[in-house]
Homo-oligomer: 200 residues x 2
DNA sequence: GTCTATACTACGATAGAC
DNA sequence: GTCTATCGTAGTATAGAC
């Protein structure tokens, strides 16, 4: 730990300021739409410094994207592979943790999904979600509980109910504070509905 | 009807060829990422012709976007406002029609939602989905059936289950043919699950 | 490390010949 | 209506002074 500091941003290093700015602008506008000038301005530094610390816009972007993918995986993987949790416990924990994550990072889904669509090749190796899920205890438990339905259908529905509001909030929700409140409400609703579906 | 023609593309007017190309490229790559040169090449015409027929990239884009929004609304509005349909009939029809639409236009959701996020101001007046839904018989029926749950939560879940697979298909589904097959399966699954949820 | 000035490239748009 | 050639601008990246 460094000495106690009161300032939030004034004492952060230039490199860190650039990273923070890049995080914000990239996730808000996507790769093509962000200009390195936007990032420099947001960071309060000169444009040349961006290329001094990171070689290029592309390199800087890769850092941010890797970080965001890591963030997404870090929520899912520990849960779906945890043999000690029952199926119902997994569902409840997944939904709660995911909604908490997305409330803190509302741009995340549209950002990641948009960039994957824009450049599928760049994600070919990094995204083996299907393989990671395939052997998980989550899938195994789903097959046991509902042998007649492909697990993918349940997972897509669970993810859809959880993630979709964050993707479509501009259209479907009025203001930001009621949105947050309703997402808290959704935690228990989705969990309940998912269990109901499994009992069908 | 024009005289019978066998060719599909050779006889279409230059203007129509540009529109078709723009439809394809814009919905695939989004506004910022598409270059007018891409559209010209896709249409098999010269770049200058694009500005001859449509004044600018922006004008051409607005045409395509208006068309796509119209497409989305034309599926939803007639159903949610139809007083002759029961709630269960509305749900079934909505899911079926939407999945059919999205199978034919898989890029549609990510395209529209991405552009709205990129330029929220440009959609302020055109998107009054909330107001259009507010007074619909669909909402009224939902309130009657489940007075304890905000209708928005049910609608978001229904839309999420239906639309999300098309947004995340790069990640969650293997190949295109099994994807289509599984989307057909989903029609009856979502309808069934939605009804189950309403009985909770 | 940080700045200013600039090179280089890519893009949207237009002029002008046919 | 359609083409070639080109203008103007905006964006990434770098050179070089401090």
């Amino acid at each position: 730990m460094a000495k106690s500091k009161e300032a939030k941003n004034l004492d952060t290093s230039t490199e860190e300021k650039i990273i923070q700015a890049a995080r914000k602008v990239f996730t808000q506008k996507g790769y093509v739409a962000t200009r390195t000038r936007d990032i420099a301005e947001e960071a309060g530094i000169n444009l040349a410094l961006l290329n001094y610390y990171f070689r290029s816009k592309e390199k800087l972007f890769q850092m941010i994207m890797a970080e965001k993918l890591q963030l997404l995986f870090s929520v899912v993987l520990p849960i779906v592979n945890n043999d000690d949790l029952t199926l119902d416990e997994k569902i409840e924990t997944l939904v709660e943790n995911y909604i908490d994550l997305l409330i803190d990072n509302p741009d995340l889904p549209l950002f990641v999904l948009g960039e994957i669509k824009a450049n599928p090749e760049g994600f070919k190796d990094r995204l083996q979600v299907r393989k990671l899920l395939q052997n998980s205890s989550f899938i195994r438990q789903l097959r046991e509980r509902k042998p007649d339905v492909e697990p993918v259908h349940f997972i897509v529905s669970l993810l859809g109910m959880t993630v979709f509001p964050f993707i479509a909030k501009q259209i479907l929700f009025a203001d930001d504070s009621t949105f947050k409140m309703q997402m808290e409400e959704r935690k228990v609703l989705i969990t309940k509905w998912a269990r109901t579906i499994l009992e069908t």
